[in-house]
């Protein structure tokens, strides 16, 4: 683990001094630090997650965590162990969340295949105004994923091919869309 991490921190001293300056409130060096660690961080997260669609989310989580925990860095100590510990924890959390999601959820393509009749009848796309409104408020990519999989009745593979992304990425978009819909409808209900 350490060997792998070492290749990501060639600018150790520079990063440490920038972080120390950031603790004093130097926003220029702070921005430079975050920009500088970004490629290494993306590589670190991507190598561990494997799912490209969630890499950027986890990278942003790490940046937030660094911001919130910046007072815990001590300049007399090396920067890398502090930084990579935060990154590693975020990756572990993301992996756990993904595993929990996988255990709880039935794959969408399985549902779609099971629900598909011999001669698929065109689905009734008329939705209640409330759901239509909630759907219209979703980001375009999530709305498209939900419409293709849930409303048009395409399998995940077919829908992914139509959109031009991997099935995994489309499932993630659809999942986020469902979650956002549930939240919106729940908020309205309350």
């Amino acid at each position: 683990m350490k060997k792998r991490e070492k290749k990501y921190d060639p600018k150790e001293a520079e990063w440490a001094s920038w972080m120390a300056a950031a603790q004093e409130g130097d926003s220029v060096l702070y921005e430079r630090l975050l920009q500088s660690v970004l490629p290494a961080l993306r590589g670190f997260v991507g190598a561990r997650l494997g799912d490209p669609s969630s890499v950027e989310d986890v990278v942003q989580t790490v940046l937030f965590s660094i911001h919130r925990a910046r007072h815990t860095y001590r300049p007399e100590r090396p920067f890398s162990p502090w930084f990579w510990a935060i990154a590693r924890n975020a990756v572990i959390d993301a992996q756990r969340a993904r595993n929990v999601r996988r255990r709880r959820e039935v794959p969408l393509d399985t549902i779609a295949e099971a629900a598909q009749p011999q001669a698929p009848a065109p689905k009734d796309l008329s939705l209640s105004p409330r759901i239509s409104h909630a759907l219209s408020r979703l980001p375009a990519s999530q709305r498209q994923a939900v419409e293709l999989i849930h409303l048009s009745g395409l399998s995940v593979a077919e829908a992914a091919a139509q959109v031009g992304v991997s099935p995994g990425a489309l499932k993630v978009r659809a999942h986020r869309g469902y979650r956002a819909l549930r939240q919106q409808l729940g908020d309205e209900h309350e």
């Binding site: 220029v28 990278v59 911001h67 001590r74 930084f83 990579w84 510990a85």
Partner: protein, 221 residues
Amino acid sequence: MSEGTIQLIQKLSRALRPVQRIPRLRHAAGGVVLLWLAAGTLALALRGLRPDLFQQLDPAGAFVVILAGLGLIAFAGVMAALATSVPGRGMAVQVSLCVGLAGVMLAGGVGGLLVLREAGPVPVACPFETDLACFTLACLLSLPPALGVLTFISRGSPYRPLIAVLAATTGSVALGALLVHVSCPESNPRHVILAHALAPLGGALLLTVPFRAALRRVTES
């Protein structure tokens, strides 16, 4: 997506404010020891040392073994709690946990066996109320150092706060049990094992949940 990350970096940079660094672990540990010493001085002034303390200081005797075990648990618990609150101190946490485990085995295992051996076939009678009194005192004496450790945890950034609190309570109750052990004259094996040697584990079971709830309230407010 990547544009979102760049925007986030800019936003975080704009929102940057100077921060006060968290104290060094050794300074925080020093503060905890001072709190413990203050509580201990008061407790020993009121309660006094056990009358046969100097006769008990045989390096191979149960008293010293349990004292050493409690010392290891206290050191390890406090250090693990402090180290878990700072990212990148994983090695210190692992070492502390190993030391703590050794302390539990020494105090509860080796110390317990030695106490049983030293007690003879007919041990001195001891009411359960005395066990409860010593255990309660150990928990009470743990409060000042626990407060110090929890303050540090609340200022830090623990990845798993429950583990940090568990280590803090175990270590703090061990500090309290150390004082109880040097001041309690009881030599009943059940009493020494349950109310002295294993008090840190019992105290951790009892205090971790309320301390975790208190920490949550402090960090959320």
